[in-house]
Symmetry: C2
Subunit: 105 residues, 2 copies
Amino acid sequence: MNLPEPPYYAVIFTSSLSEDTQGYSATAERMLELAALQPGFLGVDSVRQGTEGITVSYWESEAAIQQWKQQSEHLLAQQQGREQWYRQYRLQISRVERSYCFEKE
Amino acid sequence: MNLPEPPYYAVIFTSSLSEDTQGYSATAERMLELAALQPGFLGVDSVRQGTEGITVSYWESEAAIQQWKQQSEHLLAQQQGREQWYRQYRLQISRVERSYCFEKE
């Protein structure tokens, strides 16, 4: 994944799944696809280990994050997340100020 | 994990492991323990799924991040990471501006 030079924005989403994960994986995958279609989307990193997950999505601006938050299908997924899938989550909006990459030769 | 009200800082570390992971887990665990002893450390989220990992550590200030970066045992681990464990990584320093928590009742 290529990201631009900072500054840009990162949404850090950490979550713990509940026991009822019916439909979760398909919706999570669909949300990644939909997010990638949003204006201002730069990329995403997502890892899950059992019930614990971290997804970091990258955006050009706070306005782009706000638009994605209000996307209609995403709003439904957020609601189902709170009602069914998540035991808890934390969403943090942050401004990336510096970045360093390493890649083995 | 309790985090204070923003603003505070998040270090987003995304990594892909190489094939040579000898000693990696023990050092990763040790680094989490050491980080927790640093002044200005607020908490950490860390998840690994196969070779892909995301670790987000939270700090009171950029100065606290800088001090942790220069901690002597951590410097050795960084070097070994580049030489042995990591195929690639990206380190992003970000300033958390807003956060929302959800917890099921």
